[in-house]
């Protein structure tokens, strides 16, 4: 899934200036946060170490990061989790499986760019 998303976002690179920072777990995500100035964050809900909701909660309560828009990706079965992500302040939500265009659209919206 991660590789797929990375590839997708990389294709986005052709039309926009995008640099991707990857993290393979919740802990890794926490570790890379201070080292980059991020414009948007994509996260799954089911992750090792800490889950996506906890990550959203951390970011949205952190004075340094709370402005970064977040796109949460998860499975269709977790309607409840979607509500929770929104309650915690996540801007966008995407249900797996999704079409490539959907991801890119949401990403554009997060970055405040008009859709193609």
């Amino acid at each position: 899934m991660r590789a797929y998303v990375t590839t997708l976002v990389e294709s986005f690179h052709d039309e926009e200036e995008v640099e991707i920072v990857e993290a393979s777990s919740g802990f890794e995500a926490l570790k890379v946060l201070p080292h980059h100035k991020l414009d948007a964050i994509l996260t799954d809900i089911n992750m090792p170490d800490i889950n996506g909701l906890e990550l959203v909660s951390f970011i949205k309560n952190h004075p340094g990061y709370k402005a970064i828009p977040i796109l949460v990706i998860s499975t269709e079965s977790s309607e409840e989790d979607r509500k929770r992500a929104e309650a915690l302040g996540a801007e966008e939500y995407l249900v797996k499986p999704f079409a490539p265009e959907d991801l890119l659209d949401k990403l554009r919206r997060l970055l405040g760019k008009p859709s193609a």
Binding site: M1, R2, S24, S25, G26, F27, E28, L30, K31, P34, D44, I45, N46, M47, P48, D49, I50, N51, G52, L53, E54, L55, V56, S57, F58, N61, H62, P63, T75, S77, S78, E80, D81, R84, A87, L88
Partner: protein, 675 residues
Amino acid sequence: MTKDDDRVKEEFTSEAEELLDALSNDLVEFESQGRNVRPELVNKIFREIHSLKGLAGMLGFVQISELSHNLEDMLDKLRMGKVEISRDLLDLLYDAVDSLNRLVIAIHDPAMEALVDVPKLTSRIHALVSQKAPEQKGDPLAGLEIDEQTRKSLTEYEEHRLVENVKSGRAIYLVEVTFDFSDFDEKLRAITAALSPLGEVISTLPAIDSSGGNGISFRLLYGSDADKAAVIDTAGREANVRSLRTGASAVAPADEAVVAEPGAEEDFTLRSMSRTVRVDIGKLDHVMNIVGELIIEKNHLEGVTRTLQLQNQRMVSHELVKISRNFDRKLNELQKSVIETRMVPIGQIYSKLGRTVRKVARELRKEIDLVLRGEDTELDKMMVEQLTDPLMHIIRNAIDHGIEPPEQRVAAGKPATARVVLNAYQKGNSVVIDVIDDGRGIDPEKVKQVAVKRGLMQPKEQIDLPRACELLFTPGFSTAAEVSEISGRGVGLDVVRKNLQELKGSIDIISDIGKGSTFRIMLPITLAIIQALVVRAGDENFAIPLTSVEESLRIRGREITTVERREVFSLRNFALPLLRLSDAFQVRDGRDTSSPDTKWFIVVTRAGERMVGILVDALVRQQEIVIKSIGDRLKAIPGIAGATEIGENEIILVVDVGSLIDNYGPTARMARSGR
């Protein structure tokens, strides 16, 4: 069909098989945990199905992907406590994994697909999922002093786990820790690992350093039966432990005392974490063949060295001996590591066996507790594959014939549930697999009745246990009153023995009437390259695999005695039956074979529990040999395992001790006594 398609199929099949094997094992564990299945296990099963679905979907195996998708849904609901653990659920899971297995086989053998009914399974899944979930009274978390942010950050699953912990009467703690940013991950993992054996770490919420420093804080929600002092003790002094609710009972009910494995919550992604490479067994066969050829070359080299030594070419031979010794050492290392790469744990087939046992027990209405031991014992991959059928047959046989019906067991003072133990272990260069049942044991008299009916023995003949066991392996023998669907598949134990002999293995029975039987299989660890004793009989050399050799002795003709028209040698008060190799293979022996002064060697060999002394003219040397098949035309000749090249242009036959005893024991006896 393109080559690429084939490769995709091949790769999918092996990965899917691995997942399904793991699933089968997990289901057996799932069943054994009753109604309190560990959440880690449910998660693992969920992830395995999830991986299979992903894999099948990606490669376009529609049926597999559909079925696993539905299963995944059901398992997700199970994780969330929306589906209850029941007999129906377990049966459905077993049937579904069975069908998935068949669908994977169907990729190569489309006939298999007819045996799978995906729509039926799907409707069973739907029926189970739509059953009403257990009613929940009020908010079980009402009494919990949990802060808003922590509660809001729980996923639905984590909330469910919290509820389960509360319901089971565990105390709930909030463990707060603050670490330096540089190594928080290690420290947090260490704390989680320390806490896990005592309870369940339900969630981990990161927060800004609560002490105002540059670090990072975490709030762990932790459910445990331990008291606060114990939790503080485990979490360490830096941790701030707060009790959100005191446990209903200080002591956990016995079935609740589940221990979570550290690190059981693993990576949720499909990324492989293991440091392994998947290799086609054909490629390893090829490497093994090259090693084999090298060994033959090494044998040539040694032959030349010997010749030079005989010709007194000291300088040259001395150098050659040195080179060939070094070469030998390196070759041994290479061979050892190639063999190691081919080794797989026998546990790989245990899961398949578990399924069969369940099925057979259900069909025969017998209650079986299958105990699997020694799953880490390693065997050559090819052997493990070929071992499945014989093992399956022996286990079926044990359940069908060995195990009594529950009523009979109870009447005999035994527990209604029978025990079948599968125990694998290494013994020297062999692997032993015991199939032990606590059934009725083998009654020689009953065996005799059948044997007489089948014309395999005379009514006036005496029978003892060894003879009875031999009869069980005789073609056309079956003790079942009626041929049942289970054992009566047109295959008898004779075929099992033949299959095992093809693997250079043996099978024996140890039995105790009323108490049970043990079927003991012995196999060499690998087939490809073996140590052998090269012997001479008449004008010919033969190789005897060293795994079959117990010892060798030098004797004179006069020490051979005759007991009941059979030649024997008195070996430490044991009458060892003898077999003249030159007689068995009708090799001309120029010596005076009946003179009391003729020198002989006895190679004491063993195939399972049966021993025989092979009489030969001379022992040539011990060496490593590579067994080559001698082709189909000569395959029918019993007593021969194959041929091997032992030196330049010298090809000799390799003796198969098991089949030699089977086939030439009586012949040799008649031939000698006729003189």
